[in-house]
């Protein structure tokens, strides 16, 4: 057996791959579902926090900054483990799926809040003044004038951050969420062959490559010349 054959046998074993493909596909859909939920909830919560912050109520802003700094500082894995293993002592036992979703949502919302807030701040003060001077209220100015401009500058950093954090769905494998990585690891243990890991890697590429491309497309689509 040549070296190449041994390599192929180990990492690209067709029989093993075929056998565990259904598991990886099932894990793929768990990851997609988890990632979509994290994406929606994280960005919505982040935007909501940034909007509250734009009201500039001091005590509220102090709380938001504390929240944001806390969840940007904590490793997502720590939050997942805390939610999953510690919360039951406080009377709430989230499933691994819920613990992972909540932890990643909190982390994404913290980063998203900072990005949205930076975007809102990046809109020149004159834009507020122009809109307010025509009689538009605070909310209308924010909604029609400031946010459309803020969102444009936030798309590149937001895409990066969203991809980075939704990839954290792999951390769910620690708390028994059978997403891609967990399915692949289980398959490896049963088959004594790492080929399912390669399947898992392929699944991540299938999942995130279009997201990266979509991010790029949105960036060019919404960029406008100054």
């Amino acid at each position: 057996m040549s070296q190449w054959d041994r390599f192929a046998e180990t990492f690209f074993n067709g029989a093993v791959m075929a056998r565990y493909l259904p598991d990886i596909v099932a894990g793929f859909f768990v990851t997609v579902w988890l990632a979509v939920l994290v994406f929606l909830a994280g960005l919505a919560l982040g935007l909501a926090l940034a909007l509250v912050r734009s009201l500039r109520v001091r005590p509220l802003n102090a709380l938001i900054v504390l929240y944001v700094d806390l969840f940007r500082a904590l490793p997502p894995l720590v939050i997942i483990v805390l939610l999953y293993f510690a919360m039951p002592n406080a009377g709430w036992s989230p499933s691994g799926f819920v613990a992972t979703w909540l932890a990643l949502t909190l982390v994404l919302s913290a980063f998203a809040e900072e990005i949205f807030w930076a975007g809102i701040l990046a809109v020149p003060k004159g834009q507020w003044e122009a809109a307010r001077s025509t009689g538009l209220g605070f909310a209308a100015t924010l909604g029609w004038v400031v946010l459309p401009q803020a969102v444009r500058v936030t798309i590149p950093p937001l895409t990066n951050r969203t991809i980075a954090i939704t990839k954290g769905t792999a951390l769910g494998s620690v708390v028994a969420v059978s997403e891609i990585l967990a399915s692949a690891q289980t398959a490896v243990s049963f088959s004594f062959n790492p080929s399912p890991l390669m399947l898992g890697a392929a699944a991540y590429i299938v999942l995130f490559f279009p997201v990266v491309l979509f991010g790029r497309w949105v960036e060019t689509r919404f960029a406008w010349k100054r």
């Binding site: 122009a130 001077s133 009689g135 538009l136 401009q149 406008w224």
Partner: protein
């Protein structure tokens, strides 16, 4: 002849930023259809005075009545007042994500709740008034500075304001583009618009202003017809400023 009440009436207006008092007791009346020119060295409080008139800056003390409304009263709906006072900024402040027509239509749609067709018709008229009927679909970055400022003027005019405040409307423009904006302002004056203009365009002031107000260090030092203020200023400070401007 019955005297009409002033459109804008300012009494004892004071404004401090922290420990710095920028406006130190301003009294000023602006009559209907009057064009008042406010001049003065930078830091004299001209822009702050203008921005207090629609409460973009919150005055520290004093009173401002606009068209009979006490605009500093907590019971006054400031948004309702603002749509009757147009404002034109030094840096245009057009919304970069909207076309020229979109810029003009936003307040028509959102504040005056006009339907789309009516708003489009009004925007078309307003843009025609500033000579930009053919630019309604253009985005601000596709327009020259002069054109952008005229769109900004159209945005203010579309709301049919009782007065328009101009905050250094030509200061950010290349010299060859200033004329088109001044022409629009001249037309506005012909049409009887009440205007308060903070500007360094002395030629325009001489030709078009009813009254020139000279401010220095937060106070009105001197005011009168342009010929008097520029030709025979009574105060040393006015004289020094005017000489500097003329020499320049």
């Amino acid at each position: 002849m019955t005297r009409e009440p002033p459109v804008l009436s300012i009494r004892g207006l004071r404004k401090s930023f922290g420990a710095v008092e920028v406006l130190r007791g301003i009294d000023l009346d602006v009559q209907p259809r009057e064009l008042v020119f406010v001049i003065g060295p930078s830091g004299s409080g001209k822009s702050t005075l203008l921005r207090c008139c629609n409460r973009l800056e919150e005055p520290s003390n004093g009173s401002i009545h606009f068209d009979g409304t006490d605009i500093l009263s907590p019971r006054t709906d400031i948004n309702a007042v603002r749509r009757r006072i147009g404002m034109v900024f030094q840096n245009f402040n057009l919304y970069p994500h909207m076309t020229a027509a979109g810029n003009v239509m936003l307040a028509l749609r959102q504040v005056l709740k006009k339907d789309r067709r009516e708003a489009e018709a009004i925007a078309g008229e307003a843009l025609a008034r500033v000579g930009l009927a053919d630019k309604r679909g253009a985005y601000p970055n596709e327009l020259s500075g002069g054109q952008q400022q005229r769109v900004a003027i159209a945005r203010a005019l579309a709301l049919e304001p009782k007065a328009v405040l101009f905050d250094e409307p030509t200061s950010a423009l290349d010299p060859e583009l200033v004329g088109s904006v001044l022409q629009v302002m001249r037309d506005l004056r012909q049409a009887g618009m009440t205007m308060v203009v903070v500007s360094h365009e002395m030629g325009f002031a001489r030709a078009a202003a009813d009254r020139v107000v000279f401010m220095d260090q937060g106070e009105i030092v001197e005011q009168g017809p342009p010929d008097t203020v520029f030709g025979a200023p009574r105060h040393a400070r006015t004289r020094a400023f005017v000489e500097q401007i003329v020499r320049h």
